[in-house]
Symmetry: C2
Subunit: 339 residues, 2 copies
């Protein structure tokens, strides 16, 4: 099957300089992929000319007259930017002319636009942001990473169901294990919301393992970690900050003197392997799960490798028909969950 | 001035094997320190005999017949363990026979016991857990790290005030900068609680810098980060998990073959310096701030160096009269904050 992905190529911190080479390498990597890129004032065309697109038949350009700013209010983008690349891309998914859309733009606006255009799946109140994160045992999936604050217990259960189905199909794991993020593993810990959510999950047919603490993200004890978007975002950004600090300190220590520089030189292959194992770029591409279509959010600061990964993530999810499976399995799971 | 610290030496994951050598090295490091250790069935005495205490005049033993279990419910410990080391230690602070108490025991029970025995300072509804964390620019302080969930805006303001005063005196910074943890730096981001808390902080005479995201813990852009205990605990535990994963991967990569082992050997001094800069043991000893007395909580898994650091942290805070300063400055600050 050929998968057509609409790419909001003007978005993100770097724009076409990153998105265009990422698109071209994605086409080379994935033979079943066709791309639609949104251009404004020929910025994309210029990049394509420079890079001499080797796959002209599989990449088409569509003009988009507007761009949603990174700081723009979601409601404002929704009302005022009906010809933005983001909006037109989701329109294409809605009309069936594209199978998925990828954007490195404003997260809130992308979420609001996708919800408005594509709608949520039946049984889902609000979409969530889910992403893979590296762990000691490979990787885990975590949601919500920032789309919803003050999520009630019922919404946390929906996150768990969506995470479970996504991992089941994308990772080919028959019965993914679910952990609920809390500040202790004992039943008495946490607030009323997580306690009630835990009850709902215990009563469901999910493979629910109980509360987990923040360190479980990286120990990989469960396949899916469920949390409110505030906490998920805090965990994610805290991790980014810590990883950057450690990298910075390591660089400083290796540059301290001639001897340490030598040690650094000799350690290059080790550092390269290490970096590869925890490289956040290999995890770029968070899914806006719960929509009637596949929408992938790339980190705003994504580089070529990272943005390509986001495009390929879209292909994977389309091939595995994630929204369809969620829709089909949800009704049964939710029924079982509340009885 | 001599500072007397009561040490719940039976607590923590390792008990006297860690706490006794930590106590003895703390005495050597800090000439103004006297210690009271709580013993049960002579476990401490046995360790002291083995290690041949060089400072017998500065270390006394008190018998405590009960120990609070790590999984015990706080209310249960409070009612049923009136002769626990934890309880007697806080009693000594209350009576003025000790200046501070240090424990590696059950956090919830320690918090409940300290609140019950010592009471909170006037103007403080609930104590918070505050600790220093390493950052690119040295370190920052963060609170609450897990004592309070669902903190209302007014409580977050109290955390900010306490954090500011603690850093002012302990770090000798005249006007510490405060950041409020959120999932974005724009005013529209987050839930109603952080938005309202931000308003209160803007109206206060605190050096409030606005919202910060999780990565600000490690960039060190502000001196104090304020958050609800749920989020603070998630950030802390997530960091622990990530640091452990990176350490684990690094070790694996350096052990891959003969060449990488050689690189590891040559890199040992670099790794040692790096480890020193981010060593969580050097940050062990969280303060239960907001009480009428100094209570320090050590990590349960603390080793000798870490537990010694917690004892020395108690000395620092007593010497800087943190509770007294909070009490004195609080009334004025809170008045200014709400007008």
């Amino acid at each position: 099957m050929t998968v057509t992905v609409a790419v909001d190529a003007m978005g993100g911190d770097h724009g076409p300089e990153v998105t265009v080479p990422a698109a071209l390498t994605a086409l080379q990597r994935e033979p079943d992929l066709d791309l639609i890129l949104f251009d404004r004032e020929q910025d994309i065309q210029v990049q394509l000319d420079v890079l001499a697109n080797p796959e002209p038949d599989r990449l088409s350009l569509v003009n988009a007259t507007q761009i949603v700013g990174m700081d723009e209010l979601p409601a404002q983008a929704l009302r005022g930017k009906k010809n933005s690349s983001m909006r037109v891309a989701t329109n294409l998914v809605k009309s069936g002319n594209a199978d998925a859309c990828v954007s490195a733009g404003n997260t809130g606006a992308l979420m609001a636009t996708s919800r408005f255009v594509l709608k949520t799946l039946p049984g889902i109140d609000r979409p969530a942001i889910v992403s893979a994160l590296p762990s000691l045992r490979g990787h885990i999936h975590m949601l919500d990473l920032g789309a919803n604050v003050d999520s009630p217990p019922e919404l946390l259960l929906q996150f768990a169901v969506m995470g479970s189905i996504l991992v089941k199909y994308v990772e080919d794991k028959p019965d993914p294990s679910i952990g609920l993020l809390n500040i202790g593993v004992e039943d008495i810990k946490g607030n009323e919301i997580v306690k009630r959510a835990a009850e709902l999950m215990r009563q469901s047919n999910l493979n629910y393992k109980g509360f987990v603490e923040g360190d479980a993200i990286y120990t990989g004890d469960v396949d899916v970690i469920v949390c409110d978007g505030f906490d998920g975002n805090v965990a994610l950004k805290t991790s980014e900050g810590l990883a950057q600090m450690i990298t910075h300190f390591m660089r400083e220590e290796y540059r301290r003197n001639l001897l340490t520089r030598l040690a650094g030189l000799i350690s290059l292959p080790v550092m390269k392997s290490l970096r590869k194992r925890v490289d956040h770029r290999r995890y770029n591409g968070a899914t806006l799960v719960g929509l009637r279509g596949t929408v992938i959010k790339s980190h705003g600061s994504a580089d070529v490798l990272a943005f390509r990964h986001a495009i390929l993530e879209a292909v994977t999810e389309v091939k595995h028909k994630v929204p369809k499976h969620i829709s089909e399995e949800l009704t049964d799971m939710m029924k079982a969950a509340v009885t």
